[in-house]
Symmetry: C2
Subunit: 211 residues, 2 copies
DNA sequence: TAGAAACTTGACCAGCAGGTCAAGAAAGTG
DNA sequence: CACTTTCTTGACCTGCTGGTCAAGTTTCTA
């Protein structure tokens, strides 16, 4: 874990500094990528001297790992959960709503993840191979169950999950491009609602869950 | 343009070398990002000495621009075109098919573009502001026309276009992750068909274009 | 076939990035 | 209030990177 276990309640100096560093590092890693983000640039953004950064994290690689871990935890917490009792309609609604909300609320987490994956996921292979693959399979089985039960159209469950991933994350990862196309400066709260409604509508109907 | 206009039919040495360099550079820029891709690594991948790379392209920035331009041209050629005579059903089918095919055939082009956009699109702002925005608006108007004509459901045309972009590109950009989830080594030709069919089915039905 | 143009390449250089270090300042503790 | 631990930081070092150069080789062309 990131937080030093040796700390009790005392000395939040460490925690405070680490948080500042990780926030700054995340931005730099997104904007400049791993090699382009220098320890100095992270230091400048965090408002600390370079040597101080290296005091808290032995080296740049460690900073990167910490940022990535933080990102994955956020993904894990934000994804929500769907259970068999939900039924396909509620499950899809919950799933889309959770992912859209996360994309608009923490776009940086999604961007970090995206850059990693596009570049071949050198640090995420293990996460994908174990955790994510299992997650997708478990949820796919749920959908398959509902399909077998005649509760929704016979669509490929894995493709459906991928569709929900892609269409929701896109608003985080491609934020810049979408805003440019729309000729807007930044997202507004209503956008979350609008996108959620649009995607839910299309996908539910696409699955035969809406007349 | 990339190709030196001064060349007639003679001397394809230049063309051959430039192509090798651009291919190598594209891979390096994807795998290592701009700063991480060194002229030496591009040279090694291209099988040429470093000084030779700098002979054909004055500096690293120029290589990057050339790769990006090539990428955008590919996007432009591969996107296909839809016209009012198509009607909504054929238009969506053509659009999805073209983008899926491109994603599976030239994933590198999509990845280059994605990295650029995620990092704030420093080199693509102009392209998006003029060309892409116009493209989306023109196509959105087509869909709006069909909606007003009662030929399809009343969905937001811009969101629809974004949905098609995101769900198709995802197979190129997140190739690594999808293959890992599926526990496969690489895509196979049938995948193009399968994904095209799946997305077309869901989205057509989502738009009320399929019983 | 001779001279010009295009190409090739090893050697070199200046600047910057990651990382170390040691000396000192602050904070915690008994 | 001693003294230990944690924190802070400027100075420094080494290796690598983008880019230059000039001497040579190959290809083109008249």
């Amino acid at each position: 874990m990131i937080v030093n276990k040796k700390q009790g309640k005392q000395s939040n100096i460490r925690a405070k500094s680490q948080e500042k560093i990780l926030d700054a590092a995340q931005q730099e890693f997104i904007l400049q990528s791993y090699k382009g983000a220098t320890v100095q640039s992270i230091a400048d953004r965090a408002g600390l001297p370079k040597a101080n950064i290296l005091y808290y994290f032995k080296n740049k690689e460690n900073i990167y790992h910490a940022v990535l871990e933080q990102t994955l935890n956020m993904w894990d917490e934000g994804i929500g959960d769907i259970v068999i009792e939900d039924g396909p309609k509620v499950a899809i609604e919950k799933f889309i709503a959770a992912k859209v909300k996360m994309s608009f609320t923490y776009p940086s987490a999604s961007k970090m993840h995206a850059i990693e994956v596009i570049q071949g996921a050198p640090h995420l292979k293990e996460f994908a191979r174990t955790y994510l693959r299992q997650w997708v399979r478990t949820k796919a089985k749920l959908f398959q169950h509902w399909i077998d039960n005649g509760e929704m159209n016979d669509v490929d469950p894995v493709s459906l999950i991928i569709l929900i991933f892609s269409s929701t994350q896109h608003y985080a990862d491609f934020e810049t491009q979408i805003l440019t196309i729309l000729n807007r400066a930044e997202y507004e709260p209503e956008d979350i609602e609008h996108v959620t409604k649009f995607l839910t509508d299309i996908i539910l109907r696409g699955c035969g869950l809406k007349k």
